[in-house]
């Protein structure tokens, strides 16, 4: 099993090199001279030439990429064009806020999605199932930023229950300011989780071992949780993992609607200021986080599903025998 985990981590390295390569080259196409952005329009030719050399902008693209990667390995993502602060520090300062938002959104998705999926599957083709599935389809179809705005109209402007902007202070303050962004970001994922839970539960609901459990007189709630949900969990974990990764990237829109001080909003502001190092750093950071989350889900998947684990054990045993 350890070998499997190490192998998966090793496979991540070329992907990450590829991601940095693609993002670096895309952003190298950005029009406008970075030196003019830093020094302003009134800079002298001498200052321009000096800064161009200092930043290494007159080097070929591949050399610049190589230098960027070497610095990246040291945790240095360069300096922001707009305020000259370290990009890595600014990203690390804002990423926890994005992470909190994504975790809260995924909790919303699980709390709503799993019970709705279970009820829908157990009451298949009833009015309750139909209502839930129509709502799930609506949830998948809603633009996240629009839902955010509607929640602001209802809960902030009309009912005045929750704040509409920014991140509060202290535990309760953060919690209150987190509710609307988390619901708006998590609603689409809740719908996806509900649909997946329903279809996954339907796969196991008519299995013989469920009838056996019922015949033995096991309580219905125990059957649902221990016999059905446990066996239906693997596809749900995959969807939750994929959704969590998507939420890290998708938080850009929610953070903009709610002025949440996260990495997504930082990136959008950087784009508007033509601050390429900050955009580059943010996209790379979020893509790496996305890849790592996907990898962790794959590993978790192997741990949860005994079939995958035993399959791997058989393979490694065969491999050892062949080695002898």
């Amino acid at each position: 099993m350890h070998k499997y985990v190490l192998k998966r981590f090793a496979m991540l390295i070329p992907v990450l090199i590829g991601v940095t390569f693609i993002v670096f080259f895309i952003l190298a196409l950005t029009p406008g001279d970075p030196v003019t952005i830093i020094l302003g329009d009134n800079a002298t030719a001498e200052n321009i030439a000096k800064l161009t050399e200092e930043l290494g902008l007159d080097d070929p693209l591949l050399v610049r990429y190589g230098r960027y990667m070497l610095n990246l390995l040291k945790g240095d993502l360069g300096k922001s064009y707009s305020n000259q602060l370290s990009v890595a520090d600014q990203i690390l300062e804002r990423f926890p806020n994005t992470f909190i938002l994504a975790v809260a959104a995924i909790l919303v998705a699980l709390i709503i999605g799993i019970p709705v999926g279970i009820i829908s599957a157990k009451k298949q083709y009833t009015w309750l199932d139909n209502t839930f599935m129509v709502l799930a389809l609506v949830g998948v179809s809603m633009p996240v930023f629009w839902l955010g705005l509607v929640l602001v109209i209802v809960f902030s402007l009309n009912l005045r229950w929750l704040p509409s902007q920014g991140m509060g202070q202290g535990f309760m303050g953060i919690l209150k300011s987190l509710v609307l962004p988390a619901v708006s970001l998590g609603a689409g994922s809740a719908a996806m989780v509900a649909r997946m839970t329903r279809s996954s539960m339907l796969e196991v609901i008519r299995q013989d071992y469920i009838d056996t459990a019922r015949a033995k007189g096991v309580k219905e709630s125990t059957i649902t949780i221990r016999h059905m949900l446990k066996n239906a969990l693997i596809p749900i974990i995959t969807v939750v993992g994929l959704q969590f990764g998507q939420l890290l990237g998708g938080a850009v829109l929610t953070e903009t609607v709610f002025s949440w001080p996260g990495l997504g909003r930082f990136m959008v502001e950087a784009i508007k200021k033509k601050d390429t190092p900050s955009v580059l750093g943010s996209v790379i950071f979020l893509s790496v986080a996305f890849s790592i989350v996907n990898l962790l889900i794959d590993i978790l998947y192997a741990y949860v599903d005994p079939r995958i684990k035993s399959q791997y054990k058989v393979q490694s045993a065969l491999g050892r025998r062949r080695g002898e």
Binding site: V15, G18, V23, V138, S141, M142, L149, R198, L202, T276
Partner: protein
């Protein structure tokens, strides 16, 4: 249909309807709510929201459809080649697709627009590129499942070239999952275009794009709910219909997936 009709109206009237009712401002009437004369009300510049939404289909729906068509053609061809030839070619193409998939699609689109700048063509490029890997994967899987079937062997036996086998026999037989994926892809693309415009990175004012309409509406959210709620409902209903069509097609074309 709506986007084609609006284009025909523009051609016939030499843009007079577009100039007079869709983009021209009437500040006296600004933020007026829905009425018999303006069923969806007026926006922050006194423009009719209903007409702007109709004209907006040209950007949101049409760009989404063209972007997905482009990624279907490029992604589909790459997937077909990877699946058909296998080995090294498959490895090179699919590892490249894995790398693109490692970047969340909205981030990839944002990076492309950040580099190329906002604008219709650049959004189209961003959308097309960010959806290529999905189509490559779907087509590759389908091609691999049919490339060893007897009718392909028969085609090879009568001397058909690889290109003929791929384009004449394999791709037409892989169309079902591509159509389903494309329908769902258009829904996703419309959401991405609206999202980019909402962030101010997409279609620029005064063009009536749905996401841009929502972005402008944010400022007036306290004064006029209708300019926020109505364009969003339009986006949602469009995506809902596309998702329903996509789900229906999937059930019709692959009954095994139906629960």
């Amino acid at each position: 249909m709506i986007s084609i009709t609006t284009t025909i109206i523009d051609v016939v009237t030499d843009n007079r309807v577009y100039d007079t009712y869709v983009i021209s401002q009437n500040l006296v009437m600004r933020l007026k709510g829905p009425s018999a004369e303006h069923i969806f009300g007026l926006d922050e510049f006194g423009r009719d929201i209903f007409l702007r939404m109709l004209w907006g289909t040209r950007y949101s729906l049409f760009l989404g459809a063209i972007g997905i068509l482009a990624s279907t053609i490029v992604g589909g061809t790459l997937g077909a080649i990877a699946g058909f030839y296998g080995n090294a070619i498959d490895n090179i193409v699919m590892r490249f697709m894995d790398i693109l998939l490692a970047i969340p699609s909205i981030l990839l689109a944002i990076a492309i627009v950040a580099a190329l700048g906002p604008g219709l063509v650049n959004i189209l490029i961003a959308i097309a590129i960010s959806y290529i890997p999905t189509f490559a994967r779907v087509v590759r899987a389908k091609v691999m499942s049919i490339k060893d079937q007897e009718f392909i062997e028969a085609a090879r036996a009568v001397g058909a070239s690889d290109a003929r086998i791929i384009f004449k026999y394999i791709i037409p037989n892989s169309l079902a999952p591509i159509i389903v994926q494309a329908t769902l892809g258009v829904a996703g693309a419309i959401l991405s275009i609206a999202g980019l415009s909402f962030l101010g990175l997409g279609i620029q004012p005064p063009m009536p794009e749905w996401g841009a309409m929502l972005s402008n509406a944010r400022t007036y959210i306290r004064d006029a709910w209708h300019i926020t709620v109505i364009p969003g409902l339009g986006i949602m209903l469009t995506i809902l219909s596309l998702n329903l069509v996509g789900d229906g097609l999937r059930d019709a074309l692959d009954p095994r997936l139906k629960n």
